[in-house]
Amino acid sequence: MTAPATAWSAAARVVQRDLRLAFRRPGEWLQPVAFFLIVTLLFPLALDPEPARLRALAPAALWVAALLASVLAVEFLFREDGRDGTLEQYALSGQSFAGLLLAKTLTHWLLTGLPLVVAAPLAAMALGAPAAAIPGVLSALLLGSLSLSLLGAVGAGLTLGVRRGGALLSLIVLPLAIPTLVFGARATDLAIRAEPFDGSLYLLAALAVLSLTLAPLAAAAAVRISLE
């Protein structure tokens, strides 16, 4: 062995490895964004085509679709690594376990949360949002999707040892995600109505920082229990 790995270099290896694996199996990370787009693009077809009504419902449709897409994706966050012994090796690597799981969760967000943000303009336009509202919608989804991935990591950790834990995962994650859903939909609504949305955005940012600080510790504790 040459020089011991630093926390950063170890985290970088986790990110590189997960990205490489994801690009070899694109189906896994394309599924959530496909779900998000299908729901948001079908929604206007199933509704009265009156633009004002569509616009009024757009924030709810966007955020519920983003939340469900996020829960759908997070189910697979730790499952394979738990089964094949990778998480055991992470726990015994001599690096901060929470740090490695944070790196893993952020990679997961890059692969499943960020595509929702990229797809959001199309979804928002389909739901009748004006072009001027897009920056607001994007900022809210950027912060919100990060919180959702981090909260999802806690749920994924708690349900790691549970066979078919998808329903349980939803029961754990959805209540935790309610503040993000409320403030995210509020920011989006204000952006669509061309009103100042800074307040809601600050709250979303605060939630993201809180999740970034606490969720990796909670996820690490939960995964350790599952590894026992």
């Binding site: 062995m1 094949d84 055991e88 015994l92």
Partner: protein, 207 residues
Amino acid sequence: MLDVSGLHLWRGERHVLKGLSLHLGAGQALQLLWPNGAGKTSLLRAVAGLLPSESGQISWCGQPVTDDPLAYCRNLAFLGHELALKGDLTVLENLHYSLGLRGGVTALQLQAALQHTGLQTLADELVRHLSAGQKRRVALARLGLWQAPLWLLDEPVANLDAAGQQLVAAAIDTHLQAGGCALIATHQPLALSSAGNRLWQQPQEAA
């Protein structure tokens, strides 16, 4: 180096380890040949810190491992039932990413480890195309490259042919000669040539 004293461990309602104690010094290997369900894997996982024990103390070089668990982990290499290999990555990629968590290895060291484990022609092969025995050889190559003084090996020769079993025994002997120690759970006693090799037949015996 490794001292375990008064270790008690419960798995559900079963009191698996009842006040177990053991000592492993430099150059020593202890092969656990206990029957199924006697707690071999539980002991290895408890020593690794994956299973919290109800009572007892585990010390490494005289220091309780709970004093600095991260430093202790850097001194151990654990080979469990699951090999922590990714089927969609090649042999080299698997080694590169898992070794990178602890520190870098030179290309020369990597090539030497692959050659030693008979994997030099499979370096760029996806791991899902390998047999169970070849996958275990990849895990063995990784084990050597970690250069950790304490090896915790759970059924290290499972799925290996006779040549593979000799390879594992030789790797452990080399490790012991270099001053390392190994705690091994196995059903087939490994033919180690090292003088520090001991067999432990029943958990009730003293180690």
